[in-house]
Structure formats: C-alpha cells, structure tokens
Subunit: 370 residues, 2 copies
C-alpha cells in the first residue's frame, strides 16, 4: 500500500493505492469522521460484487449506510440522476456532515461527486474508483459534473474528495477494453509532462495487460502523483491544468458527434491525441517522429488512432466549439511539442483543424490496429 | 452612492448601493470583464420594467445579452428550472468566462446564482437584487441553492458574486408586504449582533415605510455591512454564520408545513424569531423584556409574531429535523441572549420546542397585529 498526497492547503487529501483496500474502507472512513453514518452511491453493475464487499466492510466498522444505486452510462449522467441521488439522501435524513462514498468508474464518480458537492451545499466526499481510467484521472482533482443534452460535463463543480481509495484488485474484473482506456490517459500524462513515465509505460505494456500487481500499483501511483502535482499547482484550471485536456477537444467532438457508441472515452482521447499531434506537426511545433512514436505506442496498447465515423468535418468542428475551454469565438487546442511537453494554442482556425480531422480519417494505420 | 466591501481574500467583492444603478449596469459590468457578452436571468414579473432598463443599459455599453426568463416562485425554484437556464446558456454558446446577471428577488438570485455556480463549473456572477429582502440578505454572502421536493435550499453551493448592484429605486415598485419582509431580516441582524442597528431601525420604521431615500440607503448599506462582516469571518458557515439562521429553523418548518401559502419568508422568520426568543426566555437565557421588545417592534413593522396554521406540533418538529443545520439526530437552535447577542443551542429536546410552538400559537397579540 502506498499513499500520494494531493497538496491543496486546507483541502489537501491522500490518495491511497494498494491491494485489498475495499475490505479496509470502514477503518479508512473512521479516520475521516467521528459519526457512524455514511452514504454510498454505487454503480448498479458492481452492486453485488464490489458493492457487497464495501457494505460488509462498512457494517463491520459499525456504519449505517444510506445507499443509492446508480445506472452508470453517459446518457444517465444528467441532472435527473443527480436529483434522484439527492432525493434518496433526503429521504434518509442524510445530514451535511455525512460522508458520501462513490463506488464505480468515472461516470459514477462524476455524478455522485457532483451530488456530494451540492447536496446541502456540500458534503464530505470519498472516491473509490474501480476502473483504471477513474483511478488515474477523474477520481483525483475534484472535477465533478453531469452532462446536459449530450454536451459533456456542462454542469458541475470543483469538489475535492477527503480521500481517494484505490483498490487495484478491482481491476481483475475490469473489461480489458476499459483497461486500455485507462492506459490512454496514462500515456497522455507522459506526453504532457513526463517523458520517463511515457517510456516506462510503453515498456511495461505486456505486464500491465497481464495485471502484474507490482506494475499496476506503480502505474497507478505514478499517474496519480503526476495528476496531483498538476492539480496542486492549478486547482481550478486557470492555466496549466488545461494541459490535461490534451486530446479532449477532439475526443469530446468525436463522442458528441455520435462516436460515443463506437468509441469509449479513452479511445476517443487516443484518436484526439493523434489529431492534436498531427496539428502540432503541421504547424512545425513538433517533429514528425513524435507523431509516429505516439501512434505506435497507442497501437501497441491496443488503442485506436484512426477515426471511423459518419460525421462530417464541419459537424465535428461545430462540436469542438461547445467545449468548455473555448473562450468566446476562438478555438483553443492543447498540442505536444515533444514527449513530455505540451502547449496551449489559442485562436486556431477551422481550416487548420479540418486538416487534422482529415489526417485521422486516413486508413494507413488500420492494418496495425488489428 | 456608497460601496461596501465583502472581504473574502481573492473572492472579495463590492456591494454598490445607490439610486439609478440599473442605468449604470453597463459601465459597472465593463469594470469586471473585457468581453462584451453577458447572460441575464430575469424574473418574468419584472422583465418589462426593470428588465427593460437593464437591457437598454447593457446595449448602450455594447453588450450582447443572452437572456433567460425565469418564473420566480418557491415551487419553480428547483433543478428543472436550473436545467432550463443552463440549456438557454448552452444554446447560445455561453462560455465559462461570460458573466451571469441575476435580476430579481431572492428566489431569482438563488436559482440563477446556482446556475452560475455550476454552468461549466462556474461563471462570473453579478447580483442585482430588486427586493429589500434580497438586498440585505440573500444577495450578499454567496449562498445559492434550489429546493428539493419542498425542502428549502437542499441543493446548492457557495458561489460568491463578483459584484452586487443594489438600486434602491427598484423598491418604489415593491409590494409593501415584501418591504416588511425585508425589514424582518434587518431587525434580525440587529438582534443577532447590532443593538444600535435594531433601535435605529425601530425609530425609523415610519420613514422606511415611506421609502425616504436617505433612510432606505442607510438601512441597506448598514445591513449589507453587517452581513458582509459575518460572512467575511465565516464564509462557509462553520460557526458564526449559522447565527444568521436565527428564526429560520422555526420559519422553514412553518413554510414546509403548508405555511408558505399563508406567510411570506420574512413573515415566517418573524414568527420564528418570536418562537426562538420564547425558547431562550423559558431556558432563562434571556430576559422576558427582550421577547416583549422584539415582538412589539415586529408588530410595529407590520410583521406577524403569532402562528395560524393547521399543522400539528409534531409535524412542525419533524420538519425542523430536515433543516440543514441539524447534525445527525440533534436539533440545533439559534436563540437571542439579548438584543445584539445570540447563541447556538445544540441537542435541544423536542418537548421543549413544543412549548415554544404552543407559545406562538397563542392569540394574545392578535389585536395588536391588526
């Protein structure tokens, strides 16, 4: 077991990474509250597996649990689901000092976290992510949100958890495609600011795919530490934190234009990073070899870097303008300069972006992806 | 025109109080943003009066306005209304750096303010309150929220405005009953922590009822300064700020038990303060003369201090337990020790509270209230 501190002044917290942590949740929660009540929002898909382990551990430590079940899907990540969670809390007289635990992937964490942020103007929040993507990305940093009419994360808050508990054993039951989506975010972290993490991850892809415990724990801890450092320097995304959106403006556009049924989030981001890197190469901000290295690594990790989608370029670009990073009328992109360094470009012209969309639609890498 | 600073570190802001400020809103907003776009959420009831003045002033300063109309009522202060506001913002491609102006009373400010708090995880917020109650209470301090299934302010956030613009001219069109509700909160401030403000207000009740401009501006500025000082010392209600809830645990119970149709918020709070003061007297924390002085002042201000409601005591008490200040199983009350000093009582027994409910049901003061 190891612990990574997220330094945010009086909102600082620990991310605990290890094996068997679900069984330890009662003791962990006891460190955070003197009360013996908590709320638990759990993804329906794991309510009988991990949910049962958590329930037993909480009961063993004497906790009374108000449980709200949540059907985790992008469609259900909305204000109605938020209201249902709050309604369950209210019906059980849940007070504002009662900790709320989110158990599940990123969608569960984002929705339950937003409920925790706004129920009675904010309750103590504990993240227990069960997917690699949520472990290394959404569960750290306090961004919580729901979607609005298909626009992702349009309504939300910054609400830091009191603790994040990452039990790497939960990855054993994770779909391998979901695991690869988590790897996409880890590789993204390397590209943004840690060349050594990128090459370390690339070398260990086979061991990570086989869920070698030592490698998985190191992967999670390193990526949590990377993200924690970025968040500590820029909690509310005034500057540097925006770099974490590498690939996301393109990726969200793919998801918003009907790609969400074909691609999972990490897959859309992988294609988005390829598009953003192409953009950087075409602007001569980045060497063509970087694009090759990024694409070959993603392909080795089993991730797509080419887009197959019926949406037109203009539909995709219109969707990019909905992105929250867009200030007024200008499109903003995060692009790599090299592995380990990214930069933000403002006022990007649509015509330039079109060329990068055209690039990721080419079929030249399809044979390597199989 | 005068200005009161709310000191909250990097979230500090000015509350500007004066005459003719609606016409000055374009210039005021220009001090806060370099962009020439803003969002305006306006209470339907004043859309053609004050709304038109604000629209003209914004247009004169070159602002493009995305306007969302809102039907302000306790029933409509919910997540659905919030979603509709956010939907309007999204449809007009409103970005996260676009200021949102709330124009109306407390319900409009609370709902629009919550939309501003969560749309794209937070946008710059400007409060333009048009009722006395909103001017001296809800528009200062950053508490924003909507109701859930009849439970007041159950879903919300702390979201400080960038500026509060109080145009006292808007009170000229305010219903006199609404004006009295604002006076209830002013008198409450005096009871909590400013005996001089209490006696000053009491002496000027006739001039305030006649909307003497000098008296009204001083009333608003003094009460804003009082609340600003409390909020500066305790932004997120960990301690002292809870004292502002004097009368509100009783008052919210009255509103929650069907009293909202009979009593306006300030009226329910006035009865609630009478009940809380009776509680303090019965505990010998407060002299009986204080209760007499408070009640006679409220009556002089045209406010009720006796309850006429079909709800039973046990229904009222059950409603009190829904109050957000209630920690776990104990009822918490704010009560006066004297004019200018209040205290918080935890772990109050239901049987004691019943006696204070019985007290405010007595008919002894009815003749004075007419």
């Amino acid at each position: 077991m190891q612990s990574v501190r997220v330094e945010l002044g009086e909102r600082s917290y620990d991310v605990v990474v290890g094996s068997g942590l679900l069984r330890d949740i009662g003791r962990q929660l006891s460190e955070l509250t003197s009360f013996r009540r908590c709320a638990l929002v759990v993804d329906q898909a794991i309510a009988t597996t991990h949910g049962e382990a958590v329930r037993r551990a909480l009961a063993a430590s004497g906790f009374t649990v108000c449980e709200a079940s949540f059907f985790a899907s992008e469609e259900n990540k909305n204000l109605h689901a938020l209201e249902e969670i709050c309604r369950t809390l209210l019906a059980r007289d849940t007070a504002r000092n009662t900790p709320l635990i989110a158990l599940g992937g990123g969608i569960t964490g984002d929705t339950a976290g937003f409920a925790s942020a706004v129920y009675q103007r904010g309750t103590p929040f504990v993240q227990v992510p069960t997917t690699l993507l949520a472990m290394v990305d959404s569960s750290v940093g306090g961004k919580v949100a729901v979607n609005l009419d298909g626009s992702k994360n349009m309504i939300g808050a910054f609400h830091q958890p009191k603790r994040v508990l990452i039990d790497i054993d939960t990855l054993a039951t994770l779909d391998s495609r979901e695991l690869r989506c988590g790897l996409a975010e880890c590789l993204k972290h390397g590209i943004i600011g840690d060349a050594d993490l990128f090459s370390w991850t690339r070398e260990r892809l086979p061991r990570l795919a086989a869920l070698d415990p030592g490698s998985v724990q190191e992967l999670v801890a390193r990526n949590v530490a990377f993200k924690a450092a970025v968040v500590a320097r820029d909690e509310t995304e005034q500057g540097e934190r925006a770099l974490l959106n590498l690939g996301h403006t393109f990726g969200h556009a793919i998801e918003g234009c009907g790609g969400a049924t074909r691609y999972k989030h990490g897959e859309a981001v992988a294609i988005g990073i390829a598009a953003a890197t192409h953009f950087a190469v075409s602007r001569k901000l980045c060497a063509p070899e970087v694009l090759t290295e990024i694409e070959s690594t993603f392909v080795a990790a089993g991730l797509p870097v080419r887009l197959e989608l019926a949406a037109t370029d203009s539909e995709l670009i219109a969707e990019m303008y909905k992105d929250k990073k867009t200030k007024q009328q200008n499109l903003t992109l995060i692009v790599p300069r090299k592995i380990g360094e990214c930069t933000m470009l403002r006022g990007v012209a649509d015509a330039e972006v079109v060329r990068s969309w055209e690039y990721v639609r080419r079929a030249d890498l399809t044979s390597n992806e199989g």
